[in-house]
């Protein structure tokens, strides 16, 4: 699997989109499966809109969640995106 570079631009893969379920909250809809998004999950997905580099996505979250350890945020974002990549839910352009 390709390791993401800070200059890569992440965006949801074709046929993957976020929706709001009445009882589950934010859900990522994927081909024949779905992923419930919790915590900063929905915000990360929102930021991966194909206009920002990975470095920008991380920086944006670090400034929005300034109370949290920036290094921890970086690691969590990378782990989250790797799990999306593994499900073929994320493209790195």
């Amino acid at each position: 699997m390709t390791e993401p570079a800070p200059t890569n631009v992440p965006r949801l893969a074709a046929g993957c989109r976020m929706t709001q379920s009445a009882d589950l909250g934010p859900v990522l809809l994927l081909p024949e499966s779905m992923l419930r998004l919790t915590g900063p999950g929905p915000r990360i997905v929102e930021l991966c809109d194909g206009t920002r580099t990975l470095a920008n996505v991380i920086a944006a979250l670090q400034s929005e969640f300034s109370a949290a350890d920036p290094e921890m945020i970086r690691r969590e974002v990378l782990a989250f995106l790797a799990s999306l990549q593994e499900r073929r839910a994320l493209d790195l352009v």
Binding site: A14, G15, S21, L29, P31, E32, M34, E86, R88
Partner: protein, 376 residues
């Protein structure tokens, strides 16, 4: 009890008409005719009712869903109801203009079925010349921004070409490959003797799929369904009876699974006379195997009962005549010997008898000839 179960997926069998005659078709042996099919407006209402119940995913299937002239409208209605729309198609006759219209209508995901990696063998299983048309479509799908899954139904006659099938999926750049072993219900049950793979083939499948998954990680997902006859424990069929999924047939009859009609004494309600909510929450058929009340031993006291729900009720019925029995594929089932006997008879039969006698699926009664592709 019913309020704890929320349906998440709706399988809409919008027609039983199909240009293919696959020997393992999951449609019932008795098909619904075109004149009885739900109308565009009726499906639209049903999609809205489904979304209100909590359904998130809509699988438009058939038969061949594109045999309906209003397929684009059905996609549009599904999206308008807030659903993720998946089209499960043979791809036959799907010209570029119609594909564009489906994408414009909001199609999220296209699942294209293949019978084999080789044309002659594929066409034999489909009972018609279909393979070349599928390849033509597959080469065009990637131009559109939708998810693309290739589904290959595998069985004894084609598992030897699994590496070629994976190579084909790579060439076509699909997001997901489904290596789906035949499930032995309906038409497939009729052809079980020829389709059921040997134990050795199942072992090889696992090794080949594992290696391909590792190699293609992040590029292509591979889902693999193994034949439950070789499993130690049964599959959690449909995620449990009436627990998260429902199927609606072409005339609006709502079922917990494809095969549920084999269970005697159940009466299935339809969306023309009842609301979908009532059918899901209140109808006796959907309540019948919810929870654990109905279970017998060894299921009743088994630790696995909350994971596999006693397995498949239809399979229990087909093999034991008792729909409440433990699924006979379970190694703990007193009737496991029935499955072992089938496996033994497959192992004792030569790979392929000289004169293949497939039982091909038929088309609905008022459809005298296979659907001409030009009508799509």
């Amino acid at each position: 009890m019913s309020d704890t179960f929320v349906p998440r997926a709706l399988i809409a069998e919008v027609t039983h008409r199909c240009p293919l005659r696959c020997v393992y078709c999951s449609n019932p042996l008795e098909m619904r005719s075109r004149s009885e099919e739900l109308t565009t407006a009726e499906w639209q209402r049903v999609f809205g009712e489904a979304a209100a119940l909590g359904v998130l995913q809509l699988h438009l299937t058939g038969g061949e869903p594109l045999a309906r002239q209003d397929a684009e409208q059905l996609v549009k209605s599904g999206r308008a109801a807030g659903l993720y729309v998946n089209l499960i198609t043979s791809g036959i006759g799907l010209a570029e203009a119609r594909l564009e219209a489906l994408v414009a209508a909001g199609l999220d995901h296209l699942q294209l079925s293949f019978q084999d990696a080789e044309q002659a063998q594929a066409d034999e299983i489909a009972g018609t010349r279909a393979h070349a048309a599928k390849l033509d479509l597959a080469h065009r799908v990637r131009k559109h921004r939708i998810a693309f899954t290739m589904n290959i139904v595998v069985h004894r006659q084609n598992l030897g070409r699994l590496p070629e099938m994976i190579a084909l999926a790579e060439e076509l750049q699909v997001d997901k490959l489904e290596v789906a072993n035949v499930q032995y219900y309906g038409w497939a049950f009729e052809n079980r003797g020829r389709l059921l793979p040997t134990r050795e083939q199942v072992r090889e499948t696992v090794a080949i799929v594992d290696a391909a998954r590792e190699r293609l990680k992040g590029r292509m997902r591979i889902d693999c369904v193994l034949p439950d006859y070789y499993a130690r424990f049964p599959k959690a069929c449909m995620g449990g009876w009436g627990q998260g999924l429902m199927l609606i047939d072409p005339i609006g009859v709502v079922l917990p699974c494809h095969a549920a009609r084999v269970i005697p004494g159940l009466s299935f309600d339809d969306v023309r006379s009842k609301t979908l909510r009532w059918i899901w929450e209140e109808s006796p058929a959907f309540q019948r195997f919810r929870g654990e009340e109905w279970m017998q031993e060894p299921c009743r006291s088994c630790d696995r009962r909350t994971r596999d729900f006693g397995g498949c009720r239809c399979q229990a019925m087909m093999y034991t005549g008792d729909p409440d029995a433990t699924d006979p594929v379970c190694s703990l089932a007193p009737t496991r010997g029935l499955i072992d006997a089938v496996i033994a008879s497959v192992a004792a039969t030569p790979d392929r008898e000289a004169d293949p006698k497939w039982v091909y699926r038929i088309n609905p009664a008022n459809q005298s000839a296979p659907l001409p592709t030009s009508s799509f």
